[in-house]
Amino acid sequence: MIKLINSDARWIRWLTFAASILLGAAIWEFAGRNANPVFMAPLIGDADTPGAARSLIGFIGDGQFRDAFLSSIKLFATGFLLALVIAVPLGIVLARLVLLRVALESYILMLYVTPMVALIPFVLSILGFGFWPKVLVVVLFAFFPILYNTLEGARSVKHELLEVAGSFRASEWSIWRDILIPYTLPFALTGIRQATGRALVGMIAAEFFLSTSGLGEVIMIASRTPDMANMLAAILLIAGLGVILMRGAQALEQKYSAWRGVDG
């Protein structure tokens, strides 16, 4: 019996996966129906206690929710792309200018390990409310993982390659195209994967603690009522967003991971 359950047959794998989803849903449903509705809402529910699934379907037709969703996406995308556009070129420049890299890397490590949430109060009291302070929060969350990992790649660039390129009088452009970018790209992608997760945290944190907006506001409103069905539905949606973004970044990272030198 145990052998059968642990076997690699395709139907067993699918069956266990389906069982795991069903079991999870059943536990949620059971807890939601029996707990105090202030604490928990069921997944599907009935007429008296509407569930998260119905809220989720309700969101689709709700124009206000659509606006909130789009504003969150806009915040995430703006902040993330800004961080990307600044951090990756900076990382590669540091690969080229060894002195600058040595000078700055300790400080970059320090900022990389600093929890950026701690800077939110400063952003709030210096820049106030509005869209761009929130973008700054997302940038702060996403910037240092990308820069730190790109720098790691920069350190892995073989000095011999640059020397050979120099002695053959390679142009600066071809040094970048053929040595620096291929060497640092896989590392930068690791940073980008880390940054997607962190930027998502930054997005929600900015929406909670600066001017409330977007999906963060949806959760906040639901937590005040408290409307657990809406809240769980919004959390479910954010989790889905997280998984999709993470998977995308992972796929991209894996695609270029072969470029990482075996001995690098």
């Binding site: 145990i2 359950i5 642990n6 690699d8 794998r13 266990t16 996966f17 069982a19 795991s20 989803i21 999870g24 202030v38 604490f39 002195l99 040595v102 000078a103 700055l104 300790s106 400080y107 490590l109 320090m110 900022l111 390990v113 600093t114 929890p115 950026m116 949430v117 701690a118 800077l119 939110i120 109060p121 400063f122 709030l124 009291s125 210096i126 997760g197 998502l200 945290v201 997005m203 929600i204 944190a205 909670f208 603690f209 999906l215 959760i219 906040m220 639901a222 937590s223 408290p226 809240m231 769980l232 919004a234 959390i235 954010i238 989790a239 997280g242 998984v243 973004l245 993470m246 998977r247």
Partner: protein, 269 residues
């Protein structure tokens, strides 16, 4: 004449001190740090409002803050919660992760949830945890555990899956007791992964602790920063951030040391 001689003597002492710094790398770093601090001081003094933190202001506030009982209590409260949460997350995460790595049934049952909750930004569940655990320190502990648990479980799973199959075959051939297989082989060879997971988890746990303090207004370093930033005492608030950064650097250093000292057989990467 004598002042000139004095200046020359001073310069000689300075250059000897300077030459005593062993590596040129360190010199470069120190100069860069100095340039950053000067640029910060001058830039903020020139362009920013007066309450924005400046290096000299931070240095002036430093002795008072570091001996302030409130600040110390805040640090103890936050770090204590982080360590407690990490402990819970490590124990739970290792058990769940290693079972997932070794038993395919558990893996298939739990992987969907562990992966999904790992990818979810933990801030999103903060209001939920605050409702469940009350607006008090339990909510912070729950946030820390939630933030740390899944990265440890995922890494423990990867570690348990990476056990070289030859080891397990040898165990089987010699009919090793089950507890040897679990503890001496599986757990031991997944240690490097656990260290990597713990490094990731402690960063996330710190973020979780600070966010939870913001959200439920709990005494701690996060609240210390928030309260002082709100009342425009930015110099004091920055010292709170420095305390968090110091903890982050300490963890980073400790993990590197553990890897070098105890797990030198683990290949890097």
């Amino acid at each position: 004449m004598s002042t000139q001689a004095n200046a020359a003597a001073d310069r000689a002492v300075m250059s000897r001190l300077w030459n005593a710094i062993p590596w040129s790398d360190v010199r470069v770093k120190l100069i860069a740090g100095l340039i950053i601090l000067v640029a910060w001081q001058v830039g903020v003094a020139a362009f920013a409002p007066r309450f924005v933190a400046k290096p000299l202001g931070i240095a002036a506030a430093f002795p008072a803050v570091i001996t302030d009982a409130d600040f110390l209590a805040a640090v103890v409260s936050t770090l204590g919660a982080v360590l407690k949460g990490l402990l819970i997350a490590v124990v739970g995460g290792v058990i769940v992760g290693i079972s997932m790595g070794r038993v395919k049934f558990f893996d298939r049952m739990l992987n969907f949830y562990v992966n999904g909750l790992y990818a979810m930004p933990m801030v999103a569940v903060l209001p939920l945890l605050a409702i469940w655990f009350g607006y008090e320190s339990d909510a912070r502990l729950a946030t820390i555990v939630f933030a740390a648990f899944f990265s440890i479980a995922m890494n423990a799973r990867d570690g348990a899956r990476s056990v070289p199959p030859e080891y397990l075959e040898v165990c089987k051939a010699y009919r090793a007791k089950r507890r040897y297989i679990w503890f001496d082989i599986t757990l031991y060879s997944s240690l490097p992964y656990l260290v990597a997971g713990l490094r990731l988890a402690s960063g996330r746990a710190l973020v979780g602790a600070v966010i939870a303090e913001f959200f439920v207004s709990l005494e701690g370093v996060g609240m210390y920063i928030l309260a002082h930033a709100r009342s425009f005492q930015h110099n004091e608030a920055v010292i709170g951030v420095l305390a968090l950064a110091a903890f982050g650097l300490f963890v980073e250093g400790a993990m590197n040391w553990v890897m070098r000292r105890f797990l030198p057989w683990a290949r890097r990467g």
